[in-house]
Amino acid sequence: MADKKDTIPATLTDEQRRKVLLGMAAAPALMVPGVSFGNAQFPTAKVNTTKLAVTDTEVIVGQLHSATGTMAISETGSIQAEQLAIDQINAMGGILGRKIKVIKEDGASDWPTFAEKSKKLLVNDRVACVFGCWTSASRKAVLPVFEKENGLLYYPTFYEGLEQSKNVIYTGQEATQQIIWGLDWAAKEKSAKTYFLVGSDYIWPRTSMKIARKHIETVGKLGKVVGEEYYPLGHTNFNSLINKIKVAKPDVIFVTVVGGSNVAFYKQLKAAGITGAKQFLLTLSVTEDEMLGVGGENFAGFYSSMKYFQTLDNPNNKAFVEAFKKAYGPKSVIGDVTQAGYLGPWLWKAAVEKAGSFDVDKVVAASPGIELKTAPEGYVKVHENHHLWSKARIAQGQPDGTFKVVAESADLIEPNPFPKGYQ
């Protein structure tokens, strides 16, 4: 593999990358001297031995998100970011001399539809890979299809872990990457001893809270859990919960409430006099996207644990934010998952170029060890277990709806989807 790296850089230099990110306008200039591989070097017969939709000039990929239904709220950002990355890659000359063409399918927030569409993409369209899914439920629905048809999925959302598939690359964090470092930080910085856990009632919050509780009580010995509560998705009345919190008087409220409930939760917290000035609250479920609905004034002073925030101060991110706003309007915001979605096409590109082939097996084999120095979140690397090494960060919500990063892990945190001692 090493010899290939000379001719095909798996990643671009920062300089090159920034130029690309500056937008499509700069693109044609890059295309000419750019990395033109020429198909003589990569004949279709050689790079595609498994009858994928790859021609001499084109490679077809799938994109499978909910453009309609309740999840459209969250998935829109991922759709946009993936498209942006693909446009930028095409502007650079594509992959192995081939332009990427996208077939977009709508999962319509309905899990069987996801399964149906993923099958269509893999069986009928023979796409080389798929960028898609958001909720765990949709991923669980398509997983058997991807494993059976040997497809390749790039999944952008931070999720509960407990999964590792040959056919999936997880570009978001699994639960431990988001939780453990954040809790340790809370315990150290705020000398927190008592924790109150609140979540929406489904698998991700429950698994996250399980890990959090184990870490607080046994593994990390941080203190004790004084309450653990779950509410149905879409629940909008949290007054009784808030009273329970007032009874328990925890040092930390640890939150994984999602969707519309999120907004109601923070509004009612504020109305009940629990504000960032008086109470320490750490959440795993508020990104810039959620902030639009929650409103900066309701979240001000609370903390969020993610790997990426739009306000991250590094050159990669500046270029990314600029390109994103140029493409989708100055008012658009970029949350953690949106950034993770953006990584997908770039990681795939690097893996394909390393493998010198579009064949799923070869791309999968080439994936571990792939690095991306140009990621907006900084530097990421694909782990043997198909998750990403990435940093953990804590940011504080500001009244204007942005986040101020207050802490960052020194090293990359190893992904560990099956954490020992946390089961």
């Binding site: 309609t68 309740t70 459209a72 709220i73 829109t76 009632d201 509560e229 779950y230 509410y231 149905p232 879409g234 629940h235 909008t236 009345n237 007054n239 009784s240 919960l241 808030i242 009273n243 329970k244 007032k246 009874v247 519309g260 999120n262 907004v263 109601a264 509004k267 009612q268 504020k270 109305a271 009940a272 006099g273 996207d289 639009l292 609905g293 929650v294 409103g295 004034e297």
Partner: protein, 304 residues
């Protein structure tokens, strides 16, 4: 834990129940008029609430952009407009759709469900799929703390007051105004009402529109406690129907009582159980009572 603290928590928990009660009542009120008085099942009721909520959002963004000085004052005006806009759409809906279906209540249900799908898509195309939340005036945020450790949410107080106002207004209108007289006459006996010169068709349209208008007010009020998205309305619709059915369809008093009962059950059980189980318990209780007493808490002579 001292006695004072327990006392405060009990007070706040009592208020939590009260505030859920006002939310449920406000949701159910418009429906109680439409369903109870006219026998029409409006599955798009939630979407009329959403209209109200988006009206507030629109006003808040407009005020923020063009007249930031008026931020403290826009809210009441916006509520009035929420009523008027929802009222107007209700009027249109009755004319275009509902009036053709008075004899087929189950079909109204399907048609209005269709309407709700269409409206959701309109919201999505107009305001985008993301949830929005209007900027509230400062006086609506935060809490009122009469003593140390006791925080009464101001938005809760506001919704409570608004609910009292609307309920009082509806009761007054129904029992003291010409419109109320006509509605009650029509409910009691349509042919007779017609014979005495009441334009029952017109009464129906006005009743429907008023019900929708109240839904708009409800939606406007909910922006103070939750968010607004294209599908927000569908979150409320089942609860709203249960409140009305549980209370006994044609009785406004029943709606009030049932909203109170459901709210207290849910709020108290939420304090002692998990949120999901509290919801299941409350629903099971309602269904069981309805199975034993299908006419609801307060039965009254309804048009059959």
């Amino acid at each position: 834990m001292s006695f004072d603290e327990i006392y405060n928590i009990a007070l706040m928990q009592g208020f939590a129940g009260l505030s859920l009660f006002s939310v449920l009542l406000l949701m159910g009120l418009g429906l109680a008029i439409i369903f109870g008085q006219m026998g029409v099942i409006n599955m798009a009721h939630g979407e009329f609430m959403t209209i109200g909520a988006y009206t507030i959002f629109l006003f808040s963004s407009l005020t923020e952009t063009y007249a930031p000085g008026l931020m403290q004052a826009y809210f009441p005006v916006a509520i009035v407009f929420a009523f008027l806009i929802a009222f107007g759409f209700g009027w249109l809906t009755e004319w275009a759709l509902i009036r053709h279906l008075y004899k087929r209540p189950l079909d109204t249900l399907l048609a209005t469900w269709g309407l709700s799908l269409g409206m959701q898509q309109v919201f999505r195309s107009t305001f985008g799929p993301k949830e929005v939340s209007p900027t509230l005036p400062d006086w609506l945020m935060g809490s009122w703390a009469p003593s140390e450790g006791l925080d009464i949410p101001i938005n809760g107080l506001f919704v409570l007051a608004l609910t009292a106002l609307v309920t009082g207004g509806v009761l007054l209108a129904l029992y003291k105004s010409r419109w109320g007289l006509r509605v009650r006459a029509t409910v009691a006996n349509r042919p007779m009402a017609n014979a005495t010169g009441i334009n029952t068709k017109r009464t129906d349209r006005l009743t429907f529109a008023i019900g929708c208008g109240i839904a708009g007010v409800a939606g406007a009020a909910f922006t103070t406690i939750g968010s607004t998205g294209p599908t927000s309305g569908s979150l409320y619709i089942v609860d709203a129907f249960l409140v009305v059915t549980f209370g006994g369809a044609a009785s406004l008093l029943g709606t009030v009582a049932s909203a109170f009962g459901i709210a207290q059950t849910q709020s108290i059980s939420e304090f002692f159980l998990t949120g999901s189980m509290a919801k299941v318990l409350t629903l099971l209780l309602i269904v069981t009572i309805l199975m034993i007493r299908p006419q609801g808490l307060f039965a009254s002579k309804i048009r059959r």
